[in-house]
Subunit: 175 residues, 2 copies
């Protein structure tokens, strides 16, 4: 059974909605997704560091549509691991664990990896929204579209714009 | 530069001393290391589950002698990652991060991995006290001696009885 490493922020968890809401709370400015397309997350949201270090940021993140349903369908066909950069933000560790248990009760603790760098992760497939994680990865790579990567060429990676597209790629027989 | 995955419990952190102390606190019985040699941790300490889920268990663990000094010497020659099973015990995540920051300030967040299973970890070398982690690992493997593995044959792994022995193995030119 092939193994998949699935990223959390920007792939399972809609951190952009969190950032947009918190930016509005802090500044009164309603940013549109169009205005920040192509910008790095820290460029689009100058208060990002403050927000990701605030209690509740990760635990209250909304879901990316389709993530639950598709992941559930993948489980019988792939060995799924959730691999999330977390050690940079101490609060995020416990919050991410709770968030996963809450939204993905069919994901067990054996399938969770909270790391800093993803360079020692080896699976057959990786789904991630950041080039830094995909570019050095030796397996098959899917770039999950997010505003920060939307303008860039996907290069050697396969771009997926939604969880429905992930499903079409990884479970083609079901279509 | 070669990569190393270093385990925490039983390799950096002296969890046996924690277990022995807590067993005495709970039962009044002073277990000797000799009496539990060869037993699995959960067989030696029937209250293990309670202890590892108690606040402070991981954060107050004593150090295995020599761990700090040898790890510091390895850093210029190897890319060191601390890879610890932690997601089974929610409290352990934050406590292990703080423990590492406290005792190993030269280890950065990029070098920490908190996981459930270690099966998707790929480094050149792994140092661990559990066969379940070493047996399926594809790189070079060092079995760090602990009472639960002391009687067993190391099999294909190289047994190391101390951090001094790790140093002799990985930095032979320094001896």
């Amino acid at each position: 059974m092939k193994t998949i490493a699935v990223d959390m922020d920007g792939v399972l968890a809609d951190v952009y909605r969190q950032f947009l809401n918190l930016h509005f709370q802090d500044t009164g400015e309603k940013l549109s997704l169009e205005s920040i397309r192509g910008l790095k997350e820290a460029e689009a949201f100058p208060l990002l560091k403050k927000h990701v270090n605030s209690p509740g940021f990760f635990e209250s993140a909304p879901l990316i549509p389709g993530a639950q349903a598709t992941l559930k369908k993948l489980i019988p066909h792939y060995k799924v691991f959730i691999v999330s950069a977390a050690t940079e933000f101490p609060l995020s560790l416990h919050e991410k664990l709770r968030w996963l248990n809450n939204h993905f009760p069919f994901i067990q603790w054996q399938q969770m990896v909270f790391c800093g760098s993803k360079e020692i992760i080896r699976t057959d497939i990786m789904i991630d929204d950041h080039f830094k994680n995909l570019d050095t990865f030796s397996g098959k790579t899917y770039l999950f579209s997010q505003p920060h990567n939307e303008i860039a060429s996907p290069g050697k990676h396969i771009r997926v714009n939604s969880w429905k597209e992930v499903e079409m790629q990884l479970l083609p027989d079901k279509f």
